[in-house]
């Protein structure tokens, strides 16, 4: 059960630095006792690793794999009822079993942590500066208040907060998410720790902000020389950043090794599945993703044998008999590559990859795709759509003090059988655009034509009819299904509303559930009995009930784990082909969009800055914002990722209540920064319109648009 990594990382010379490991974890088990008669939850079952000074270890796994719990155990921050056994050593000193006082002395000074959600991670009633000062002084009680305040400002400066002296006096709510995460990093490095544990530090952030934060983390590591344990579910983030990877499944490490070995010489089918199910930004060919069937096992009722066996396509009876040990596999460049699979030697001998192990689903070609786009019917036409929210002030007498330009002149169209991906950072107006389209009301300005009928001019009866043809799938499958309705009723509701014959209702619901890959026998269950991916399938079945022609998908897969996400994406593609649907697909994950979309529109501060064929946008983006956005996305390919240079944008998305003059992207634009005074004039004075770049119907809103390869 025990496995400790002792070999060096394969990364740079820093990682190869010899010396004793800083943090060593051995045979760590964490069990949460079940309340009452419920069984115990075995969250972590035998994790072991060690990190050296300057080394970065990545821990990868899906939600519930125990990756966070094991690091919280290292910090001594698990709830009191957790049973922790094994060994956690910091510089050889055992941490497990230390009392709160002794552990507090280590926490924040020798071992520090950066958490996932920066929005709730800072105490709202203290200034940012005070919270950093507290971190400094708790370990240096003799340090004067003024000296600590100076140190806080230095730290804020180090993590890239502009005007640090002034901003130190601000409260957390005055900072954006990315800025708060910088503050969290400043707190973590305040006392020069030897180990920094980062628990999904960029998951809650936009890609451009993620790129900034990863840079800050690299700076932090350079400054402190600390070892970093990077916990994430994003295989792209891990690829470019870490030296070694530990893949976790059901509370156990299943594959461990140097990053290149794990990515290029994968020996465990689960790791293969993970890598195969990630939509790739860097591959042009449109192959279906490789989903891992089924769901992770419950940690309170694990099956005997390999916990991955029920989902593994190459599992044998032997796999189900006994849980495999983590054993050394050869063939790698760096040593210390281990995998917990009894068929690993076979995989190695045969040189199998994900494509060999997993059956690749076949998805046909949509019939509409054979017709030229211009000859197809336009399902949705949006022209100059505007949505401004007034900003009001005052309690009794409200007066208008400003305007939020949420959607400010957006135009696009969707042809039959086409998928348009609408992408942009949070706050850019994607969701507002969707809501305006779905409201079917007259926009403040501009027009929305759905299937040839204009919003705001329809009678109530026509509106009702259009609602049949335009359906929506929401982001969060946990909250978009009524928990008190049976799945049957959830799917049947739109049918009943639109007067579907009662005697055919059950047959239709069964057909729909079958269509989205659910067992019709489960129609009598409640939504909470299903996993996230299954719930999203229920949401899709509900949306499909009335045989719509246009499906509006608002971040349909962003709340799902990658292996589950792949299945839902494949389902959406298959449905499009089978039912001839058109999709408006809103997402912030550009890899998903590249995979599923035919055309892509990139939004920034309420406007579309670039729109065109998917291959064109990803292959040769012309707008500097699109370029930055694409460049910021890490690719799950270590060699490629190390060779890439990311364009890191400065600052945050400006407030849509106060957009800059001229081109809205100007203050963050890397191109603008390189222009001469004279060349800058149009950017400052004239807001650029979407102009054709000369190829296909690709247009970009930049005065200096120029195609460039960034992926």
């Amino acid at each position: 059960m025990t496995e400790t990594i002792t070999a060096n990382g394969a990364g740079g010379p820093e990682a190869a630095e010899t010396g004793a490991p800083v943090l060593e974890i051995e045979d760590l088990h964490v069990t949460f006792p079940g309340r009452g008669k419920e069984p115990d939850v075995k969250a972590v079952r035998g994790v072991g690793y060690s990190v050296r000074r300057g080394e970065i270890l990545g821990i990868v796994g899906e939600s519930g794999s125990g990756k966070s719990v094991s690091s919280m155990a290292a910090m001594g921050l698990l709830p009191d009822n957790a049973r922790v056994t094994g060994s956690i050593r910091l510089h050889g000193e055992e941490l497990l079993g230390l009392d709160d006082k002794a552990m507090s002395a280590k926490r924040g000074s020798r071992i520090a942590m950066v958490f996932q959600d920066p929005l709730s991670g800072l105490t709202p009633v203290y200034t940012v500066g005070d919270q950093i000062i507290e971190a400094v002084r708790v370990h240096n009680p003799k340090m004067g208040k003024e000296r600590a305040a100076e140190r806080a400002v230095e730290l804020l400066d180090l993590v890239g907060i502009p005007n640090p002296a002034q901003r130190a006096k601000a409260f957390p709510h005055e900072f954006s998410g990315g800025m708060r995460q910088r503050v969290m990093i400043a707190i973590a490095i305040a006392n020069d720790p030897d180990v920094i544990i980062c628990d999904e530090p960029t998951t809650a952030l936009d890609v451009t902000i993620q790129a900034q934060i990863l840079e800050v983390l690299k700076t932090a590591q350079r400054e402190t020389g600390a070892a970093i344990v990077m916990i994430t579910h994003d295989l792209g983030v891990v690829a470019g950043l870490v030296d070694r990877v530990l893949v976790m499944y059901a509370g156990r490490p299943v594959e461990v090794g140097a990053v290149d070995d794990v990515y290029y010489r994968t020996r465990m089918p689960y790791t293969m599945g993970l890598l195969g199910s990630v939509p790739r930004l860097d591959t042009e060919e449109h192959a279906p993703l490789v989903p891992i069937e089924g769901n992770p096992p419950s940690l309170s009722a694990l099956p005997p044998g390999c916990p991955f066996a029920p989902r593994c396509p190459i599992a044998t009876d032997e796999c189900r008999a006994e849980e495999p040990e983590l054993l050394e596999v050869g063939g790698g460049h760096g040593d210390g590559h281990t995998a917990a699979c009894i068929r690993a030697p076979e995989i190695e001998r045969e040189g199998w990859t994900a494509a060999d192990v997993y059956p690749v689903p076949a998805i046909g070609e949509a019939p509409a795709a054979r017709t030229r786009r211009a000859d197809r019917e336009t399902v949705l036409q949006v022209d100059g759509l505007v949505k401004h929210h007034p900003l009001m002030k005052g309690a009794v007498f409200k007066r208008r003090v400003g305007t939020v330009y949420a959607v400010d002149g957006v135009s696009f169209d969707i042809a039959e059988g086409e998928t348009l991906g609408l992408v942009g950072e949070s706050g850019c107006g994607k969701s507002s655009t969707l809501m305006e389209i779905l409201s079917l009301e007259r926009p403040q300005s501009g027009t929305v034509d759905l299937l040839g009928r204009r919003s705001g001019t329809m009678s109530a009866r026509e509106r009702f009819a259009v609602r049949r043809d335009v359906q929506v799938v929401f982001q969060d499958p946990m909250s978009s299904l009524d928990p008190r309705m049976l799945v049957f009723d959830v799917v049947a509701e739109p049918l009943r509303t639109h007067g579907y014959p009662k005697d055919k209702l059950r047959a239709r619901v069964n057909e729909l559930l079958d269509l989205v890959g659910l067992d019709p026998a489960h129609a009598g269950r409640y939504p909470q009995e299903f996993s996230g991916g299954q719930r999203q399938r229920i949401g899709i079945a509900r949306a499909l009930a009335l045989e719509p022609r246009l499906l509006i998908l608002d971040e349909p897969v962003s709340a799902l784990d990658v292996s589950i996400q792949a299945g839902v994406i494949n389902l959406l593609e298959e449905l499009k082909v089978r039912l001839g649907l058109s999709y408006l697909f809103v997402a912030h994950d550009l890899s998903v969009v590249r995979h599923i979309a035919d055309r892509v529109a990139v939004m920034y501060l309420g406007r579309i800055v670039e729109i065109g064929e998917v291959g064109r946008i990803f292959g040769s983006p012309a707008h500097p914002y699109t370029q930055a956005l694409l460049s910021a996305i890490p690719v799950p390919d270590p060699e490629k990722e190390r060779a890439r240079t990311h364009i890191v944008l400065e600052g945050d998305l400006p407030s849509p209540a106060n957009p800059p003059s001229g081109c809205r992207f100007r203050p963050r634009c890397p191109k603008f920064a390189g222009l001469s005074e004279a060349e800058r004039v149009p950017c400052i004075e004239v807001s650029p319109d979407l102009e054709p770049t000369g190829e296909d119907d690709h247009t970009a809103a930049c005065h200096y648009a120029q195609g460039r390869t960034v992926v």
Binding site: M75, L77, D100, K101, S104, A105, K106, R107, G108, S109, A112, M113, F115, D117, S120, G121, L122, T123, P124, V125, Y126, T127, E134, A135, V138, H139, F171, H173, M184, I187, A188, A190, N191
Partner: protein, 327 residues
């Protein structure tokens, strides 16, 4: 920030005026001082009664608006009028306000602090013995009317005194009449008299606050910022006190104003039961004797108290949550 407080203060003044006026109008139309004279024997002549009532500005033959104008004109100059017996309301108030305030302030401070502390600690030890005991105690007090709590305490005191064979606890009046024990002796005597009624009042406050604070505390206990504080190196205790409790106190402080009104009602019973000559007992006595001006004066006092509590909670809020000061 200061502007905000001044605005609130002006708001409260308006509310006090409205509340007092309403109380006056209600008392003047519902209570009939004339009955007091008609029941006397020998029964005075109607003209004599009218003359006496006119003198006191209590004659129900005068239009209500007119009486109110006269009364309000006096109140503006600080004169709350005369009682039905002709004595000055102000004189009575001077004595009684101090009596009541002593009880209210002590009861509130004790009850609220104990409630917050016990509630917060119970949350930290959720489902533990302390939590279960304090929950049981709080629900018992909440389920029992204030009068019963007050009387039960008296019964317990009697039993204790009997068991000890001497007067450990006093439960009648504010002080021993005609006591001559020097300054400290008098203070000690008053404290002894205060003990039981204060506890009776504080119990109700404790019950409400402990439940509320426990819930607020439970909400923040698992929050990310408490975890961050511990990750910095604060001990569990320090993180809970400095980060969790501070944040969890903010909603409780707003709640303070609401519970204060309920407590004022509790004061009335407590004063009655413990035979204190305070504002609360005066209110009940005045209603019984059709004393319109006394009722209005007590109502005004209670309005001022509630508004003072509201203002105090504004101040506390601004102190606890600096975001109010910035925004």
């Amino acid at each position: 920030m200061w502007l905000f407080l001044v605005r609130r203060l002006v708001n409260y003044l308006v509310l006090i005026v409205v509340a007092t006026t309403c109380a006056y109008l209600l008392a003047a139309s519902a209570l009939s001082p004339r009955v007091n004279y008609e029941n006397q024997s020998p029964r005075p002549s109607e003209a004599a009664v009218d003359a006496r009532l006119d003198e006191l500005n209590l004659n129900d033959k005068t239009p209500l608006a007119e009486r109110w104008m006269v009364w309000a004109g006096d109140v503006v100059t600080g004169d709350f009028g005369k009682t039905v017996t002709g004595s000055s309301v102000n004189d009575q108030m001077e004595i009684r306000v101090l009596v009541s305030l002593r009880l209210i302030v002590a009861g509130t401070v004790l009850g609220a602090t104990a409630g917050v502390a016990i509630g917060a600690y119970a949350a930290v030890k959720q489902y533990g013995l302390f939590d279960q005991l304090s929950t049981g105690a709080a629900f018992t007090v909440l389920a029992v009317p204030a009068v019963v709590v007050a009387i039960t305490l008296q019964v317990i005191a009697i039993w204790l005194n009997g068991a000890a064979g001497q007067t450990l606890l006093v439960f009648n009046g504010e002080a021993t009449p005609s006591l001559d024990a020097g300054f400290f002796g008098t203070v000690w005597d008053r404290l002894k008299h205060m003990f039981l009624p204060t506890v009776a009042l504080a119990l109700g406050q404790f019950a409400v606050f402990s439940r509320y604070q426990r819930n607020m505390m439970l909400d923040v206990l698992g929050s990310d910022f408490v975890r961050t504080a511990r990750a910095k190196g604060l001990t569990r205790r320090a993180a809970l006190l400095k980060h969790a409790l501070r944040t969890a106190l903010i909603p409780t402080v707003t709640y303070f104003t609401f519970t204060f009104g309920v407590m004022m009602a509790g004061t009335t019973f407590t004063e009655k039961v413990y035979n204190w000559k305070g504002m609360g007992s005066w209110l009940i006595d005045s209603i019984a004797t059709n004393d319109v001006h006394a009722v209005a004066a007590v109502s005004c006092f209670m309005a001022v108290c509630v508004m003072a509590a509201a203002f105090l909670s504004d101040l506390l809020y601004a102190w606890l949550d600096p975001r109010v000061r910035v925004g």
